[in-house]
C-alpha cells in the first residue's frame, strides 16, 4: 500500500494526473498508461504532442470509468439474433452514375490518370 501525500486544494482528477506523473499508480485503478495511449495512437495513425497525450489519458480514464458500469450487468441468455436485415443484390456488372472525372480530381497526387502514393514495399 502506497501512502499518498494528499493535497486538498487539488481536484481529484488533478491528483490523479500528479500520481501518474510520479508513476505511483498502484493505489488507483488505472485503465491505461501513457505507453498505452502511445500504442493506441500508433494504431490509429495519429501523432500526439506530450500535452495531448496527458490530457487524452485523463479523458480516457474518465470515459472508461463511466462505461465500465456495464461490467457488473448480468446479460446471460441474450438472443444473439439481430433484427437488422441484410439486403442482397445480384452480383452483376452494372454501369453506375459515378463521375470518373470527379473521382480523379479528388486524388491528392496523380500521374497519367493513376493515383500516386509513396512506395509501400
Amino acid at each position: 500500500m502506497v501512502i499518498l501525500e494528499f493535497n486538498h486544494h487539488l481536484a481529484p482528477t488533478k491528483v490523479r494526473a500528479l500520481l501518474l506523473h510520479k508513476e505511483e499508480r498502484k493505489c488507483y485503478t488505472f485503465f491505461m498508461t501513457i505507453q498505452d495511449v502511445e500504442n493506441l495512437a500508433e494504431l490509429a495513425k495519429i501523432e500526439l504532442s506530450p500535452d495531448e497525450k496527458q490530457s487524452l489519458l485523463k479523458d480516457l480514464e474518465e470515459i472508461l470509468k463511466y462505461v465500465k458500469v456495464i461490467e457488473g450487468v448480468e446479460v446471460s441468455n441474450v438472443a444473439e439474433e439481430h433484427k437488422l436485415r441484410n439486403v442482397w443484390r445480384e452480383d452483376k456488372i452494372k454501369q453506375w452514375d459515378f463521375s470518373r472525372e470527379l473521382i480523379l480530381k479528388q486524388f491528392p497526387d496523380s500521374q497519367d490518370g493513376f493515383l500516386k502514393v509513396k512506395k509501400i514495399l
Binding site: V37, A41, E47, Y66, A79, K118
Partner: protein, 469 residues
C-alpha cells in the same frame, strides 16, 4: 415581404399551388435572412450559388402541375451528405476541399421532388458532439440566444430552421444529433427507424447507429420530408421499405420510465416534462409508469459501440485517395501526418478510444459486452411495447447551455442520455417543442415508438402539438 416566421412547408406549398407565392420569392427571402444573420450565427458553411436557379426550375415544375409538397421548398443540408460536384467536409479539415462525386440517396430524392438545396450546414466534426463546438469552422450560435450552443451535432440544420433560413433541413442522428439540437433550438427533429432511410452517401460515423432524418417547424412538415427521403435503396445493404413492416400502435398508452429520470436532470426540464404529461393525461391519454432497468446502460454501451465503429470508419481517411494529404518520408508517415493535421481533438479521442475497446484483451470486456447489452435493451423495449404504445422522455437533460460550459468530454456525452436508447434499439423517435424555460429557452419532449412505427411517431407528435396549445 414574406413573413417567414409563421411559414411552414405545408402553408408554403398551398400558397405556391394557388400562385400566391413563388419558390423564387421564398428562396430569396431565406437567402436574405442568411445574409443578415449568418456572419453572427455561423449556421451555413456554404450557401449554394445556384439556389435561385433551382427555385426558378421549381417554379416551372409547379406551373406545369407536376410539383409535390416539397417542390420549391428551401431545405438546408447537413455537411455530411454528398451532393455531386459540391464540397462535403463533415466540418473537418481533412475533407475541407473534398468534392462529392455522387449524390447521397436522400439528396437524389430531394432533387427528384424539386426541393431547393439552399446550402450546407455547420456541425460537429464528423457528427461527433452535442454543441457544434467540435466543428473545425467555429461553432454555430443558437438563434434563440446567441450566447448559447444550438446543440449538436446537426446544430447548423436545427438552427437554420429556427432562424428561418430554410423551411426544413436534413440532419443525421447517431446518438442524439437530430433530436437534441432540434430540442435546443425549439424545432421538431425526427430520427427514423434504423434502415428506413438509406445511409448511402452520408459520411459514415457509426454505421450500426447512423440514421438520416428531418428537422422542421412542425411534425407535419417533418413527415413531408421523411416521406420523401424514406425508401429502399440497393446501395445500402440494411435499407428496407419501412412500409413493408409498418407497425401501427394504438397511440393511447404512454409509458414513462421514471427511474431513468432520477439523476442529472435540470429541475425546469423535469417540471416541463411533468406538465406535458399532465396535458396528455387531460387529453385522454393513459400515462403509465414503466420499469426499464436496463435503459440506463444505453449511454455507456453507446460510448463503446460508437467509438469502435468510428475508429474503423474513419480509418479510410488516410490522405491517399481524397482529402488532405501531408507528405511524410514513408507511406505510414504520410498517413500519420495527414490524419494528425486533418482531425480535430474529439475525433482523435474517439478513434483512440475505439482502438482501445476493440483491442486484444479488452474486446470481450467492452465491445462484446456492450453488444450483448444492446440486445438486452432491444428486448426490454420490445417487451414494454406490448404494454404501452410509446415511451416518452425529455429530449435533453438541460436546455441550451453556454459555450465552453461542458469542457470535460464526459459532461458533454451526458447530454445524450435520453436520446441514445433509440439508436441502440434502432427505434424511431421524435423531439417536439414542449415549452420554454424561465429564461426563454426551449424544451423538447421525445416520443420513442416501436421499430417501423415511424408514421405513428409523427402522429403522436402532431397530437401533442395540438394538445400543448
Amino acid at each position: 415581404m414574406i413573413a417567414l416566421e409563421n411559414l411552414t412547408i405545408k402553408k408554403a406549398h398551398a400558397m405556391m399551388q394557388k400562385g400566391a407565392l413563388t419558390s423564387t420569392e421564398l428562396v430569396s427571402a431565406c437567402l436574405k435572412k442568411i445574409e443578415e444573420k449568418n456572419t453572427e450565427l455561423n449556421i451555413f458553411l456554404e450557401v449554394f450559388d445556384d439556389a435561385l436557379d433551382q427555385a426558378k426550375g421549381a417554379d416551372e415544375i409547379i406551373k406545369s402541375g407536376k410539383g409535390t409538397e416539397l417542390t420549391g421548398i428551401p431545405i438546408a443540408i447537413k455537411d455530411n451528405m454528398l451532393i455531386t460536384g459540391r464540397k462535403t467536409s463533415s466540418a473537418s479539415k481533412i475533407l475541407e476541399n473534398y468534392i462529392a462525386t455522387y449524390d447521397a440517396f436522400v439528396i437524389k430524392k430531394l432533387k427528384e421532388h424539386g426541393a431547393v438545396l439552399i446550402g450546407r450546414t455547420n456541425m460537429d466534426e464528423f457528427a461527433m458532439g452535442s454543441s457544434t463546438e467540435n466543428s473545425a469552422y467555429g461553432p454555430v450560435r443558437n438563434p434563440i440566444d446567441p450566447s448559447r450552443v444550438p446543440g449538436g451535432s446537426s446544430g447548423g440544420s436545427a438552427a437554420a430552421v429556427a432562424a428561418n433560413m430554410a423551411l426544413g433541413a436534413l440532419g443525421s442522428d447517431t446518438g442524439s444529433s437530430i433530436r437534441q439540437p432540434a430540442s435546443l433550438c425549439g424545432v421538431v427533429g425526427m430520427k427514423p427507424t434504423y434502415s428506413a432511410v438509406s445511409r448511402f452517401g452520408i459520411t459514415a460515423m457509426a454505421s450500426s447507429l447512423d440514421q438520416v432524418g428531418p428537422i422542421a417547424k412542425t411534425s407535419e412538415d417533418a413527415k413531408i420530408i421523411f416521406d420523401c427521403i424514406a425508401g429502399q435503396d440497393a446501395m445500402d445493404s440494411t435499407s428496407v421499405n419501412f412500409l413493408d413492416f409498418k407497425v401501427t400502435p394504438a397511440k393511447k398508452v404512454i409509458g414513462v420510465p421514471r427511474d431513468f429520470l432520477k439523476e442529472g436532470v435540470d429541475p425546469e426540464v423535469l417540471q416541463n416534462f411533468e406538465e406535458s404529461l399532465e396535458k396528455m393525461k387531460k387529453a385522454g391519454y393513459d400515462i403509465r409508469d414503466i420499469d426499464m432497468p436496463h435503459l440506463q446502460y444505453s449511454l455507456p454501451a453507446y460510448y463503446i459501440i460508437m467509438p469502435a465503429e468510428v475508429s474503423t470508419n474513419l480509418a479510410r481517411l488516410d490522405g491517399m485517395r481524397y482529402g488532405l494529404r501531408k507528405n511524410g518520408d514513408t507511406v505510414f508517415d504520410t498517413f500519420k501526418k495527414s490524419r494528425s493535421a486533418g482531425f480535430g481533438p474529439e475525433t482523435r479521442r474517439r478513434m483512440i478510444l475505439g482502438a482501445y475497446v476493440l483491442s486484444h484483451g479488452y474486446y470481450d470486456a467492452y465491445y462484446k459486452k456492450a453488444w450483448a447489452l444492446r440486445h438486452v435493451i432491444e428486448n426490454e423495449f420490445r417487451k414494454i411495447f406490448e404494454e404501452v404504445d410509446f415511451v416518452v422522455l425529455p429530449t435533453a437533460p438541460t436546455p441550451a447551455f453556454k459555450f465552453g460550459e461542458k469542457k470535460d468530454p464526459l459532461a458533454m456525452y451526458l447530454c445524450d442520455i435520453f436520446t441514445t436508447p433509440a439508436n441502440i434499439a434502432g427505434l424511431p423517435a421524435i423531439s417536439v417543442p414542449s415549452g420554454f424555460s424561465s429564461s426563454g429557452l426551449p424544451f423538447g419532449l421525445q416520443f420513442n415508438g416501436p421499430v417501423y412505427s415511424d408514421e405513428a411517431v409523427f402522429e403522436i407528435s402532431k397530437k401533442f402539438e395540438e394538445i400543448k396549445g
